[in-house]
Protein backbone atom coordinates (compact mmCIF):
# COMPACT_ATOMS: atom_id res chain seq x y z
CA UNK A 1 0.00 0.00 0.00
CA UNK A 2 1.29 3.31 -1.00
CA UNK A 3 1.57 5.85 1.74
CA UNK A 4 3.04 9.27 1.63
CA UNK A 5 5.37 10.46 4.29
CA UNK A 6 2.85 13.11 5.22
CA UNK A 7 0.13 10.59 5.84
CA UNK A 8 2.49 8.60 7.97
CA UNK A 9 3.19 11.64 10.10
CA UNK A 10 -0.51 12.12 10.59
CA UNK A 11 -0.95 8.55 11.68
CA UNK A 12 1.78 8.97 14.18
CA UNK A 13 0.18 12.13 15.48
CA UNK A 14 -3.23 10.53 15.76
CA UNK A 15 -1.75 7.61 17.61
CA UNK A 16 0.05 9.87 20.05
CA UNK A 17 -3.08 11.88 20.61
CA UNK A 18 -5.17 8.79 21.30
CA UNK A 19 -2.73 7.73 23.94
CA UNK A 20 -2.77 11.20 25.43
CA UNK A 21 0.92 11.79 24.79
CA UNK A 22 0.40 15.19 23.24
CA UNK A 23 -2.11 17.88 24.03
CA UNK A 24 -4.76 19.11 21.71
CA UNK A 25 -3.09 22.35 20.82
CA UNK A 26 0.17 20.72 19.75
CA UNK A 27 -1.77 18.17 17.80
CA UNK A 28 -3.79 20.71 15.91
CA UNK A 29 -0.78 22.84 15.26
CA UNK A 30 1.12 19.90 13.86
CA UNK A 31 -1.85 18.67 11.86
CA UNK A 32 -2.42 22.19 10.59
CA UNK A 33 1.16 22.42 9.39
CA UNK A 34 0.66 19.21 7.52
CA UNK A 35 -2.36 20.80 5.91
CA UNK A 36 -4.29 17.75 6.86
CA UNK A 37 -6.53 19.04 9.57
CA UNK A 38 -9.79 17.76 8.07
CA UNK A 39 -8.39 14.26 7.73
CA UNK A 40 -7.07 14.26 11.26
CA UNK A 41 -10.35 15.55 12.59
CA UNK A 42 -12.16 12.45 11.39
CA UNK A 43 -10.11 10.13 13.52
CA UNK A 44 -12.31 10.23 16.54
CA UNK A 45 -10.06 11.72 19.12
CA UNK A 46 -12.01 13.23 21.98
CA UNK A 47 -10.86 16.41 23.66
CA UNK A 48 -12.92 18.69 25.79
CA UNK A 49 -14.02 21.13 23.11
CA UNK A 50 -12.65 24.60 23.72
CA UNK A 51 -15.29 27.25 23.49
CA UNK A 52 -15.21 29.57 20.53
CA UNK A 53 -14.09 33.11 21.26
CA UNK A 54 -16.52 35.93 20.60
CA UNK A 55 -14.59 39.01 19.52
CA UNK A 56 -16.49 42.28 19.49
CA UNK A 57 -15.36 45.16 17.30
CA UNK A 58 -16.99 48.14 15.60
CA UNK A 59 -18.31 46.43 12.47
CA UNK A 60 -18.14 47.40 8.82
CA UNK A 61 -15.02 46.52 6.85
CA UNK A 62 -13.24 45.77 10.11
CA UNK A 63 -15.06 42.44 10.48
CA UNK A 64 -13.55 41.05 7.32
CA UNK A 65 -10.17 42.66 7.92
CA UNK A 66 -9.85 41.26 11.44
CA UNK A 67 -10.68 37.86 10.07
CA UNK A 68 -7.91 38.06 7.51
CA UNK A 69 -5.33 39.70 9.74
CA UNK A 70 -5.93 37.80 12.95
CA UNK A 71 -8.65 35.29 13.58
CA UNK A 72 -8.31 32.90 10.63
CA UNK A 73 -4.71 32.17 11.33
CA UNK A 74 -5.32 31.91 15.06
CA UNK A 75 -8.04 29.34 14.47
CA UNK A 76 -5.84 27.41 12.07
CA UNK A 77 -3.06 27.24 14.62
CA UNK A 78 -5.09 26.50 17.73
CA UNK A 79 -8.32 24.98 16.50
CA UNK A 80 -10.24 27.57 18.46
CA UNK A 81 -12.94 29.25 16.45
CA UNK A 82 -13.33 33.02 16.68
CA UNK A 83 -16.65 34.68 15.89
CA UNK A 84 -16.62 38.40 15.20
CA UNK A 85 -19.52 40.52 16.36
CA UNK A 86 -19.49 44.08 15.02
CA UNK A 87 -21.97 45.62 17.40
CA UNK A 88 -19.53 48.01 19.09
CA UNK A 89 -18.14 47.51 22.60
CA UNK A 90 -19.11 50.86 24.07
CA UNK A 91 -18.70 51.21 27.80
CA UNK A 92 -22.46 50.97 28.30
CA UNK A 93 -22.76 47.86 26.15
CA UNK A 94 -20.00 46.08 28.09
CA UNK A 95 -21.64 47.09 31.35
CA UNK A 96 -24.89 45.62 30.07
CA UNK A 97 -23.09 42.38 29.26
CA UNK A 98 -21.63 42.16 32.76
CA UNK A 99 -24.85 43.21 34.48
CA UNK A 100 -26.73 40.42 32.71
CA UNK A 101 -24.69 37.99 34.83
CA UNK A 102 -23.91 35.82 31.80
CA UNK A 103 -21.83 37.77 29.32
CA UNK A 104 -21.68 36.36 25.80
CA UNK A 105 -18.67 38.44 24.75
CA UNK A 106 -15.03 37.45 25.31
CA UNK A 107 -12.52 39.77 23.71
CA UNK A 108 -13.37 43.39 22.94
CA UNK A 109 -11.62 45.95 20.76
CA UNK A 110 -12.46 48.82 23.09
CA UNK A 111 -11.36 52.36 23.81
CA UNK A 112 -8.38 52.15 26.19
CA UNK A 113 -10.16 54.34 28.73
CA UNK A 114 -13.14 51.98 28.61
CA UNK A 115 -10.87 49.03 29.49
CA UNK A 116 -9.29 51.09 32.23
CA UNK A 117 -12.54 52.35 33.78
CA UNK A 118 -14.26 48.98 33.66
CA UNK A 119 -11.15 47.14 34.80
CA UNK A 120 -10.93 49.33 37.88
CA UNK A 121 -14.51 48.42 38.64
CA UNK A 122 -13.75 44.73 38.40
CA UNK A 123 -15.60 44.11 35.13
CA UNK A 124 -12.58 43.18 33.04
CA UNK A 125 -10.06 40.39 33.52
CA UNK A 126 -6.56 41.48 34.46
CA UNK A 127 -4.43 40.62 31.44
CA UNK A 128 -2.17 37.64 31.99
CA UNK A 129 1.29 38.76 30.92
CA UNK A 130 2.65 35.28 31.33
CA UNK A 131 0.62 34.38 28.22
CA UNK A 132 0.81 37.77 26.51
CA UNK A 133 4.29 38.90 25.68
CA UNK A 134 4.34 42.38 27.17
CA UNK A 135 7.42 43.49 25.27
CA UNK A 136 5.50 43.31 21.98
CA UNK A 137 4.14 46.80 22.53
CA UNK A 138 5.48 50.07 23.85
CA UNK A 139 5.55 50.08 27.65
CA UNK A 140 2.85 52.71 27.98
CA UNK A 141 0.49 50.66 25.82
CA UNK A 142 0.38 47.55 28.03
CA UNK A 143 -1.74 48.20 31.11
CA UNK A 144 -3.42 45.93 33.62
CA UNK A 145 -6.68 45.63 31.71
CA UNK A 146 -5.90 46.63 28.16
CA UNK A 147 -3.12 46.30 25.65
CA UNK A 148 -2.90 48.37 22.47
CA UNK A 149 -4.29 46.49 19.49
CA UNK A 150 -3.46 49.20 16.95
CA UNK A 151 -3.24 52.98 16.66
CA UNK A 152 -5.58 55.33 14.86
CA UNK A 153 -5.93 59.03 14.56
CA UNK A 154 -8.44 61.88 14.28
CA UNK A 155 -7.08 63.91 11.37
CA UNK A 156 -7.98 67.09 9.51
CA UNK A 157 -9.35 66.20 6.07
CA UNK A 158 -10.48 68.76 3.53
CA UNK A 159 -11.98 69.09 0.08
CA UNK A 160 -9.36 70.55 -2.27
CA UNK A 161 -12.00 71.92 -4.63
CA UNK A 162 -13.23 74.32 -1.95
CA UNK A 163 -10.00 76.24 -1.30
CA UNK A 164 -6.43 76.31 -2.58
CA UNK A 165 -4.55 76.63 0.68
CA UNK A 166 -3.79 73.62 2.86
CA UNK A 167 -5.30 73.81 6.35
CA UNK A 168 -2.67 72.83 8.88
CA UNK A 169 -3.88 73.68 12.37
CA UNK A 170 -7.08 73.60 14.35
CA UNK A 171 -7.08 77.39 14.20
CA UNK A 172 -7.36 76.91 10.42
CA UNK A 173 -10.24 74.49 11.03
CA UNK A 174 -12.03 77.29 12.91
CA UNK A 175 -11.15 79.90 10.28
CA UNK A 176 -14.19 79.93 8.01
CA UNK A 177 -12.99 83.08 6.20
CA UNK A 178 -9.85 81.52 4.77
CA UNK A 179 -11.37 78.05 4.55
CA UNK A 180 -15.05 78.52 3.69
CA UNK A 181 -17.56 75.70 3.91
CA UNK A 182 -19.23 73.44 6.42
CA UNK A 183 -17.45 71.29 8.98
CA UNK A 184 -18.03 67.90 10.55
CA UNK A 185 -16.65 66.54 13.81
CA UNK A 186 -16.91 63.36 15.88
CA UNK A 187 -20.21 62.96 17.69
CA UNK A 188 -18.80 61.06 20.68
CA UNK A 189 -16.40 63.86 21.61
CA UNK A 190 -12.96 62.18 21.35
CA UNK A 191 -10.48 64.77 20.20
CA UNK A 192 -13.16 67.45 19.68
CA UNK A 193 -12.60 69.41 22.89
CA UNK A 194 -8.85 69.14 22.33
CA UNK A 195 -9.27 70.56 18.82
CA UNK A 196 -11.29 73.48 20.19
CA UNK A 197 -8.68 74.28 22.84
CA UNK A 198 -5.81 74.07 20.35
CA UNK A 199 -7.75 76.38 18.04
CA UNK A 200 -8.16 78.77 20.97
CA UNK A 201 -4.41 78.96 21.45
CA UNK A 202 -3.77 76.39 24.17
CA UNK A 203 -0.42 74.64 23.82
CA UNK A 204 -0.36 70.85 23.41
CA UNK A 205 1.57 70.49 26.68
CA UNK A 206 -1.18 72.34 28.59
CA UNK A 207 -4.17 70.51 27.07
CA UNK A 208 -4.89 68.18 29.98
CA UNK A 209 -6.79 68.43 32.20
CA UNK A 210 -9.13 69.87 29.58
CA UNK A 211 -10.69 73.25 30.24
CA UNK A 212 -14.18 72.11 29.36
CA UNK A 213 -15.97 75.44 29.65
CA UNK A 214 -13.44 77.12 27.38
CA UNK A 215 -13.62 74.28 24.86
CA UNK A 216 -17.43 74.40 24.75
CA UNK A 217 -17.40 78.16 24.20
CA UNK A 218 -14.97 77.74 21.35
CA UNK A 219 -17.24 75.05 19.88
CA UNK A 220 -20.22 77.40 20.09
CA UNK A 221 -18.23 79.80 17.93
CA UNK A 222 -18.04 77.18 15.18
CA UNK A 223 -21.61 75.96 15.66
CA UNK A 224 -23.21 77.76 12.66
CA UNK A 225 -20.60 76.14 10.42
CA UNK A 226 -20.87 72.59 11.73
CA UNK A 227 -23.15 70.74 9.35
CA UNK A 228 -23.23 67.52 11.33
CA UNK A 229 -21.54 65.57 14.05
CA UNK A 230 -20.78 62.18 12.51
CA UNK A 231 -21.53 59.12 14.58
CA UNK A 232 -20.13 56.44 12.27
CA UNK A 233 -17.14 56.25 9.95
CA UNK A 234 -19.42 55.65 6.98
CA UNK A 235 -21.29 58.86 7.74
CA UNK A 236 -18.11 60.94 7.79
CA UNK A 237 -17.10 59.42 4.47
CA UNK A 238 -20.47 60.19 2.91
CA UNK A 239 -20.32 63.84 3.98
CA UNK A 240 -17.10 64.28 2.00
CA UNK A 241 -18.13 62.14 -0.96
CA UNK A 242 -21.27 64.22 -1.44
CA UNK A 243 -19.31 67.43 -1.03
CA UNK A 244 -21.47 68.49 1.87
CA UNK A 245 -18.55 69.57 4.02
CA UNK A 246 -15.31 71.30 3.09
CA UNK A 247 -13.38 70.21 6.17
CA UNK A 248 -13.74 67.59 8.86
CA UNK A 249 -12.15 65.94 11.85
CA UNK A 250 -12.32 62.28 10.82
CA UNK A 251 -10.51 58.99 11.35
CA UNK A 252 -7.30 58.49 9.37
CA UNK A 253 -8.67 55.14 8.20
CA UNK A 254 -11.60 56.86 6.50
CA UNK A 255 -9.40 59.67 5.22
CA UNK A 256 -7.20 57.12 3.43
CA UNK A 257 -10.24 55.57 1.75
CA UNK A 258 -11.65 59.00 0.86
CA UNK A 259 -8.43 60.20 -0.75
CA UNK A 260 -8.32 57.05 -2.85
CA UNK A 261 -12.01 57.02 -3.81
CA UNK A 262 -12.12 60.71 -4.73
CA UNK A 263 -8.83 60.43 -6.64
CA UNK A 264 -7.24 63.03 -4.45
CA UNK A 265 -10.11 65.52 -4.23
CA UNK A 266 -10.13 64.95 -0.49
CA UNK A 267 -6.78 65.67 1.13
CA UNK A 268 -5.60 64.95 4.66
CA UNK A 269 -2.44 64.79 6.73
CA UNK A 270 -1.25 63.91 10.22
CA UNK A 271 -0.40 67.50 11.18
CA UNK A 272 -1.95 68.28 14.59
CA UNK A 273 -4.03 65.11 14.46
CA UNK A 274 -5.06 63.30 17.63
CA UNK A 275 -3.54 59.82 17.85
CA UNK A 276 -4.76 57.14 20.21
CA UNK A 277 -4.55 53.38 20.59
CA UNK A 278 -7.45 50.98 20.64
CA UNK A 279 -7.16 48.22 23.18
CA UNK A 280 -7.72 44.51 23.56
CA UNK A 281 -9.53 43.64 26.75
CA UNK A 282 -11.34 40.60 28.10
CA UNK A 283 -14.63 40.58 30.00
CA UNK A 284 -14.72 39.06 33.45
CA UNK A 285 -16.52 35.69 33.63
CA UNK A 286 -16.44 35.48 29.85
CA UNK A 287 -17.66 32.18 28.35
CA UNK A 288 -14.38 31.23 26.64
CA UNK A 289 -12.35 31.73 29.80
CA UNK A 290 -8.99 33.38 30.30
CA UNK A 291 -6.44 31.18 28.60
CA UNK A 292 -7.63 31.05 25.03
CA UNK A 293 -8.49 34.74 25.00
CA UNK A 294 -5.06 35.72 26.34
CA UNK A 295 -3.47 33.54 23.69
CA UNK A 296 -5.55 35.24 21.04
CA UNK A 297 -4.42 38.66 22.23
CA UNK A 298 -0.82 37.53 22.16
CA UNK A 299 -1.36 36.30 18.62
CA UNK A 300 -2.91 39.61 17.59
CA UNK A 301 0.17 41.47 18.81
CA UNK A 302 2.35 39.65 16.28
CA UNK A 303 3.70 42.10 13.73
CA UNK A 304 2.56 40.17 10.63
CA UNK A 305 -1.16 40.46 11.35
CA UNK A 306 -0.79 44.09 12.33
CA UNK A 307 0.92 44.92 9.05
CA UNK A 308 -1.86 43.13 7.24
CA UNK A 309 -4.42 45.25 9.10
CA UNK A 310 -2.52 48.38 8.10
CA UNK A 311 -2.77 47.28 4.48
CA UNK A 312 -6.45 46.42 4.77
CA UNK A 313 -7.78 49.27 6.92
CA UNK A 314 -4.97 51.73 7.62
CA UNK A 315 -4.72 51.02 11.35
CA UNK A 316 -1.22 51.63 12.68
CA UNK A 317 0.59 48.62 14.21
CA UNK A 318 1.03 48.78 17.98
CA UNK A 319 4.02 46.44 17.86
CA UNK A 320 7.16 48.42 16.98
CA UNK A 321 8.62 45.31 15.37
CA UNK A 322 6.09 45.75 12.59
CA UNK A 323 7.83 48.89 11.36
CA UNK A 324 10.49 46.94 9.54
CA UNK A 325 7.91 44.88 7.63
CA UNK A 326 5.72 47.70 6.38
CA UNK A 327 5.79 47.97 2.58
CA UNK A 328 7.29 51.24 1.43
CA UNK A 329 4.11 52.67 -0.03
CA UNK A 330 2.33 52.28 3.33
CA UNK A 331 4.99 53.86 5.51
CA UNK A 332 3.61 57.36 5.30
CA UNK A 333 0.06 56.16 5.99
CA UNK A 334 1.10 54.63 9.29
CA UNK A 335 -0.05 56.92 12.10
CA UNK A 336 2.22 55.07 14.51
CA UNK A 337 5.50 55.73 12.67
CA UNK A 338 7.99 57.86 14.56
CA UNK A 339 7.84 60.57 11.94
CA UNK A 340 4.04 60.76 12.03
CA UNK A 341 3.80 60.49 15.80
CA UNK A 342 5.92 63.63 16.04
CA UNK A 343 3.27 65.58 14.11
CA UNK A 344 0.37 64.45 16.28
CA UNK A 345 -0.71 64.88 19.88
CA UNK A 346 -1.79 61.99 22.10
CA UNK A 347 -5.22 61.59 23.61
CA UNK A 348 -4.85 61.39 27.41
CA UNK A 349 -6.40 58.07 28.31
CA UNK A 350 -6.26 58.70 32.06
CA UNK A 351 -8.24 61.92 31.68
CA UNK A 352 -10.86 60.13 29.59
CA UNK A 353 -11.08 57.27 32.08
CA UNK A 354 -11.91 59.75 34.84
CA UNK A 355 -14.16 62.17 32.95
CA UNK A 356 -15.57 60.69 29.76
CA UNK A 357 -19.06 59.75 30.97
CA UNK A 358 -20.01 62.98 32.71
CA UNK A 359 -18.36 65.33 30.21
CA UNK A 360 -19.84 63.47 27.23
CA UNK A 361 -23.28 64.01 28.71
CA UNK A 362 -22.71 67.77 28.87
CA UNK A 363 -21.09 67.77 25.46
CA UNK A 364 -24.03 65.98 23.84
CA UNK A 365 -26.65 68.24 25.36
CA UNK A 366 -24.60 71.22 24.19
CA UNK A 367 -24.07 69.95 20.65
CA UNK A 368 -27.44 68.22 20.36
CA UNK A 369 -29.52 71.37 20.61
Amino acid sequence: MHQSHQQDCIELLVEKARRGQIDRRSFLKAAGMLAALPLAMRNGIGWAQERPIVLVNWGGDAIDAYRRAWTEQFSRETGIAVRIDGSGPTEGAIRAQIASGRPSWDVVDAEPFTSLTLGREGMMRPLDYSLIERAKVNEAFATDYGVASYLYSYVIAWDKQRFEETPRTWADFWDVERFPGKRTMYKWMNGVLEAALLADGVAVADLYPLDIARAMDKLDELRPHILAYWGSGAESQQLFLDGEVSMGQIWNTRAIVLERDTEGRVGWHYDNACVTPSSWAVLNDNPAGAESTMRFIDHALEPEGQVELLELLGNGPSNPAAAAMIPEELVELNCGSEENLAKQFKLDIEWYADHYGSVLDDFLTRTGA
Binding site: T90, E91, G92, A93, R95, A96, K182, K187, W188, I226, L227, A228, Y229, W230, G231, D242, G243, E244, G357, S358, L360, D361, D362, L364, T365, R366, T367, G368, A369
Partner: protein, 277 residues
Protein backbone atom coordinates in the same frame (compact mmCIF):
# COMPACT_ATOMS: atom_id res chain seq x y z
CA UNK B 1 -65.78 15.26 29.00
CA UNK B 2 -67.65 18.05 30.58
CA UNK B 3 -68.73 20.79 28.28
CA UNK B 4 -66.90 24.03 28.91
CA UNK B 5 -69.31 26.88 29.21
CA UNK B 6 -69.24 29.58 26.56
CA UNK B 7 -68.00 32.08 29.09
CA UNK B 8 -64.99 29.93 29.92
CA UNK B 9 -64.30 29.40 26.25
CA UNK B 10 -64.03 33.14 25.88
CA UNK B 11 -61.69 33.39 28.80
CA UNK B 12 -59.49 30.62 27.44
CA UNK B 13 -59.29 32.32 24.08
CA UNK B 14 -58.45 35.65 25.63
CA UNK B 15 -55.73 34.70 28.07
CA UNK B 16 -52.75 34.53 25.65
CA UNK B 17 -52.82 38.27 24.99
CA UNK B 18 -52.53 39.42 28.61
CA UNK B 19 -50.03 36.64 29.28
CA UNK B 20 -47.78 37.75 26.42
CA UNK B 21 -48.11 41.38 27.50
CA UNK B 22 -47.19 40.45 31.05
CA UNK B 23 -44.15 38.42 30.05
CA UNK B 24 -42.80 40.58 27.28
CA UNK B 25 -43.74 44.02 28.46
CA UNK B 26 -44.82 44.42 32.06
CA UNK B 27 -42.07 42.34 33.66
CA UNK B 28 -39.14 43.91 31.79
CA UNK B 29 -40.69 47.30 32.36
CA UNK B 30 -40.89 46.62 36.08
CA UNK B 31 -37.13 46.12 35.89
CA UNK B 32 -36.74 49.57 34.30
CA UNK B 33 -38.90 51.04 37.05
CA UNK B 34 -36.66 49.46 39.67
CA UNK B 35 -33.53 50.79 37.96
CA UNK B 36 -34.92 54.30 38.07
CA UNK B 37 -34.96 54.24 41.89
CA UNK B 38 -31.94 52.00 42.57
CA UNK B 39 -29.20 53.06 40.11
CA UNK B 40 -26.61 54.22 40.85
CA UNK B 41 -27.89 54.11 44.46
CA UNK B 42 -31.33 53.65 46.04
CA UNK B 43 -33.41 56.79 46.32
CA UNK B 44 -35.18 59.39 44.24
CA UNK B 45 -32.02 61.15 43.05
CA UNK B 46 -32.78 60.40 39.40
CA UNK B 47 -36.22 61.97 39.62
CA UNK B 48 -34.77 64.94 41.48
CA UNK B 49 -32.32 65.41 38.62
CA UNK B 50 -35.15 64.99 36.11
CA UNK B 51 -36.98 67.83 37.84
CA UNK B 52 -34.02 70.20 37.98
CA UNK B 53 -31.58 69.39 35.16
CA UNK B 54 -31.83 72.08 32.49
CA UNK B 55 -30.22 70.01 29.75
CA UNK B 56 -32.70 67.16 30.23
CA UNK B 57 -35.54 69.68 30.15
CA UNK B 58 -34.17 71.03 26.90
CA UNK B 59 -34.25 67.55 25.36
CA UNK B 60 -37.78 66.87 26.64
CA UNK B 61 -39.18 70.22 25.50
CA UNK B 62 -37.56 69.79 22.10
CA UNK B 63 -39.14 66.35 21.86
CA UNK B 64 -42.60 67.62 22.83
CA UNK B 65 -42.32 70.61 20.51
CA UNK B 66 -41.23 68.52 17.52
CA UNK B 67 -43.88 65.86 18.20
CA UNK B 68 -46.61 68.50 18.45
CA UNK B 69 -45.43 70.18 15.24
CA UNK B 70 -45.37 66.85 13.44
CA UNK B 71 -48.80 66.01 14.89
CA UNK B 72 -50.40 69.22 13.59
CA UNK B 73 -48.80 69.02 10.14
CA UNK B 74 -49.53 65.32 9.68
CA UNK B 75 -53.12 65.89 10.76
CA UNK B 76 -53.56 68.75 8.31
CA UNK B 77 -52.24 66.71 5.38
CA UNK B 78 -54.11 63.59 6.40
CA UNK B 79 -57.35 65.55 6.78
CA UNK B 80 -57.07 66.92 3.25
CA UNK B 81 -56.21 63.50 1.89
CA UNK B 82 -59.02 61.78 3.77
CA UNK B 83 -61.48 64.41 2.55
CA UNK B 84 -60.28 63.95 -1.03
CA UNK B 85 -60.42 60.20 -0.76
CA UNK B 86 -64.00 60.30 0.51
CA UNK B 87 -65.56 62.86 -1.81
CA UNK B 88 -63.65 62.68 -5.08
CA UNK B 89 -63.77 60.62 -8.27
CA UNK B 90 -62.44 57.05 -8.35
CA UNK B 91 -59.35 58.26 -10.24
CA UNK B 92 -58.43 60.70 -7.52
CA UNK B 93 -59.12 58.09 -4.91
CA UNK B 94 -56.58 55.82 -6.53
CA UNK B 95 -53.98 58.59 -6.34
CA UNK B 96 -54.64 59.23 -2.69
CA UNK B 97 -54.43 55.53 -1.92
CA UNK B 98 -51.12 55.32 -3.76
CA UNK B 99 -49.75 58.28 -1.80
CA UNK B 100 -50.78 56.72 1.48
CA UNK B 101 -49.92 53.09 0.91
CA UNK B 102 -46.65 53.25 -1.02
CA UNK B 103 -44.66 55.00 1.70
CA UNK B 104 -46.48 52.92 4.30
CA UNK B 105 -44.90 49.78 2.88
CA UNK B 106 -41.33 51.07 2.60
CA UNK B 107 -38.99 50.63 5.54
CA UNK B 108 -38.40 53.69 7.68
CA UNK B 109 -34.64 53.37 7.21
CA UNK B 110 -34.91 53.45 3.44
CA UNK B 111 -37.21 56.45 3.57
CA UNK B 112 -34.93 58.28 5.97
CA UNK B 113 -31.95 57.89 3.66
CA UNK B 114 -34.21 58.84 0.77
CA UNK B 115 -35.00 62.11 2.51
CA UNK B 116 -31.34 62.65 3.22
CA UNK B 117 -30.57 62.36 -0.49
CA UNK B 118 -33.46 64.64 -1.40
CA UNK B 119 -32.89 67.33 1.21
CA UNK B 120 -29.15 67.60 1.70
CA UNK B 121 -27.33 70.74 0.59
CA UNK B 122 -26.47 69.40 -2.87
CA UNK B 123 -29.50 67.13 -2.99
CA UNK B 124 -32.45 66.96 -5.38
CA UNK B 125 -34.57 69.71 -3.85
CA UNK B 126 -31.77 72.23 -3.52
CA UNK B 127 -30.57 71.28 -6.99
CA UNK B 128 -33.96 72.00 -8.56
CA UNK B 129 -34.43 75.23 -6.68
CA UNK B 130 -31.00 76.43 -7.73
CA UNK B 131 -31.59 75.40 -11.35
CA UNK B 132 -34.86 77.31 -11.34
CA UNK B 133 -33.07 80.33 -9.91
CA UNK B 134 -35.24 80.44 -6.81
CA UNK B 135 -32.25 80.35 -4.48
CA UNK B 136 -28.57 81.26 -4.79
CA UNK B 137 -27.10 79.12 -2.05
CA UNK B 138 -28.54 75.84 -0.76
CA UNK B 139 -31.17 75.91 1.98
CA UNK B 140 -30.44 74.02 5.18
CA UNK B 141 -33.25 71.50 4.75
CA UNK B 142 -31.76 68.65 6.71
CA UNK B 143 -29.22 67.74 9.39
CA UNK B 144 -31.35 69.99 11.58
CA UNK B 145 -34.82 69.85 13.09
CA UNK B 146 -36.52 70.85 9.82
CA UNK B 147 -35.30 67.68 8.12
CA UNK B 148 -36.47 65.63 11.09
CA UNK B 149 -39.95 67.19 10.95
CA UNK B 150 -40.31 66.67 7.19
CA UNK B 151 -39.42 62.98 7.39
CA UNK B 152 -41.52 62.38 10.49
CA UNK B 153 -44.60 64.03 8.96
CA UNK B 154 -44.16 61.86 5.89
CA UNK B 155 -43.96 58.80 8.08
CA UNK B 156 -46.96 59.71 10.22
CA UNK B 157 -49.52 60.78 7.58
CA UNK B 158 -50.91 57.25 7.05
CA UNK B 159 -51.32 56.84 10.79
CA UNK B 160 -53.47 59.95 10.86
CA UNK B 161 -55.21 59.15 7.56
CA UNK B 162 -56.87 55.90 8.60
CA UNK B 163 -58.56 57.15 11.80
CA UNK B 164 -59.71 60.28 9.98
CA UNK B 165 -61.19 58.37 7.04
CA UNK B 166 -62.96 56.09 9.45
CA UNK B 167 -64.44 58.94 11.44
CA UNK B 168 -65.47 60.84 8.28
CA UNK B 169 -67.21 57.80 6.90
CA UNK B 170 -69.43 57.65 9.93
CA UNK B 171 -70.81 61.11 9.24
CA UNK B 172 -74.34 60.85 7.96
CA UNK B 173 -74.48 62.49 4.51
CA UNK B 174 -78.15 63.24 4.98
CA UNK B 175 -77.33 65.66 7.80
CA UNK B 176 -75.02 67.56 5.46
CA UNK B 177 -77.69 67.57 2.76
CA UNK B 178 -80.29 68.76 5.25
CA UNK B 179 -78.04 71.65 6.27
CA UNK B 180 -77.61 72.60 2.60
CA UNK B 181 -81.38 72.33 2.15
CA UNK B 182 -81.93 74.70 5.04
CA UNK B 183 -79.80 77.31 3.26
CA UNK B 184 -76.34 76.93 4.78
CA UNK B 185 -73.40 77.75 2.50
CA UNK B 186 -70.88 75.01 1.62
CA UNK B 187 -68.32 76.63 3.91
CA UNK B 188 -70.86 76.85 6.73
CA UNK B 189 -71.78 73.19 6.33
CA UNK B 190 -68.14 72.26 6.49
CA UNK B 191 -67.31 74.38 9.53
CA UNK B 192 -70.49 73.88 11.56
CA UNK B 193 -71.64 70.37 10.62
CA UNK B 194 -68.78 68.37 9.12
CA UNK B 195 -65.78 69.54 11.13
CA UNK B 196 -67.30 69.18 14.62
CA UNK B 197 -68.24 65.60 13.85
CA UNK B 198 -64.64 64.77 12.95
CA UNK B 199 -63.28 66.22 16.19
CA UNK B 200 -63.07 62.90 18.05
CA UNK B 201 -61.28 61.48 15.02
CA UNK B 202 -58.92 64.44 14.91
CA UNK B 203 -58.16 64.17 18.60
CA UNK B 204 -57.59 60.43 18.36
CA UNK B 205 -55.39 60.75 15.28
CA UNK B 206 -53.37 63.53 16.90
CA UNK B 207 -52.72 61.51 20.03
CA UNK B 208 -51.77 58.44 18.04
CA UNK B 209 -49.31 60.43 15.94
CA UNK B 210 -47.95 62.29 18.95
CA UNK B 211 -47.36 59.14 21.00
CA UNK B 212 -45.76 57.39 18.05
CA UNK B 213 -43.42 60.35 17.51
CA UNK B 214 -42.25 60.42 21.14
CA UNK B 215 -40.34 57.19 20.60
CA UNK B 216 -38.73 58.09 17.25
CA UNK B 217 -35.09 57.17 17.07
CA UNK B 218 -33.88 56.50 13.54
CA UNK B 219 -35.15 59.65 11.84
CA UNK B 220 -33.74 62.19 14.34
CA UNK B 221 -30.51 60.21 14.65
CA UNK B 222 -29.90 60.29 10.89
CA UNK B 223 -31.52 63.50 9.72
CA UNK B 224 -30.74 65.51 12.86
CA UNK B 225 -27.03 65.62 12.01
CA UNK B 226 -26.15 64.82 15.61
CA UNK B 227 -27.66 68.16 16.54
CA UNK B 228 -31.33 67.31 17.13
CA UNK B 229 -31.29 64.88 20.02
CA UNK B 230 -34.78 63.70 20.98
CA UNK B 231 -35.87 61.73 24.03
CA UNK B 232 -35.43 58.24 22.57
CA UNK B 233 -31.90 58.94 21.36
CA UNK B 234 -31.13 60.62 24.68
CA UNK B 235 -32.23 57.50 26.57
CA UNK B 236 -30.06 55.43 24.23
CA UNK B 237 -27.11 57.70 25.02
CA UNK B 238 -27.69 57.28 28.73
CA UNK B 239 -27.78 53.50 28.34
CA UNK B 240 -24.95 52.90 25.89
CA UNK B 241 -22.61 55.87 25.85
CA UNK B 242 -22.66 57.62 29.19
CA UNK B 243 -24.03 54.63 31.17
CA UNK B 244 -26.31 56.55 33.50
CA UNK B 245 -28.87 53.74 33.49
CA UNK B 246 -30.74 55.26 36.42
CA UNK B 247 -31.44 58.55 34.69
CA UNK B 248 -32.25 56.78 31.41
CA UNK B 249 -34.76 54.61 33.25
CA UNK B 250 -36.27 57.65 34.99
CA UNK B 251 -36.80 59.35 31.61
CA UNK B 252 -38.50 56.16 30.38
CA UNK B 253 -40.86 56.29 33.36
CA UNK B 254 -41.67 59.92 32.70
CA UNK B 255 -42.40 59.17 29.03
CA UNK B 256 -44.61 56.27 30.08
CA UNK B 257 -46.54 58.53 32.44
CA UNK B 258 -46.98 61.06 29.63
CA UNK B 259 -48.15 58.42 27.16
CA UNK B 260 -50.51 56.91 29.75
CA UNK B 261 -52.04 60.33 30.33
CA UNK B 262 -52.55 60.83 26.60
CA UNK B 263 -54.05 57.37 26.18
CA UNK B 264 -56.42 58.11 29.05
CA UNK B 265 -57.55 61.26 27.22
CA UNK B 266 -57.94 59.22 24.05
CA UNK B 267 -60.14 56.67 25.79
CA UNK B 268 -62.08 59.31 27.66
CA UNK B 269 -62.92 61.71 24.85
CA UNK B 270 -62.64 59.71 21.70
CA UNK B 271 -64.27 56.41 20.94
CA UNK B 272 -61.43 54.14 19.93
CA UNK B 273 -63.65 51.61 18.20
CA UNK B 274 -64.82 54.33 15.84
CA UNK B 275 -61.24 55.21 14.91
CA UNK B 276 -60.47 51.71 13.75
CA UNK B 277 -63.97 50.81 12.53
Amino acid sequence: MARISARWQHRLLLWPLPAVLLLCYVLPFAGIAVWSVTLPEPGMANYARLATDGSIHAVLWRTLYLCATVGVLALLLAFLMAYCWLYSSPGWRRWVELCVFLPFWISVLVRTFGWLIALRSNGLVNGWLEALGVIDSPLALTRNSLGVVIAMVHFMVPFAFFPLVSSMRQIDDRVLLAARGLGASRWRVFVSIFLPQTLPGLLGAFIMVFVFCLGFFVIPAILGGGQTVMAAEYVFLQMFQTYNWGIGAAICMLMLALVSGLVWILLRFSRVERLVG
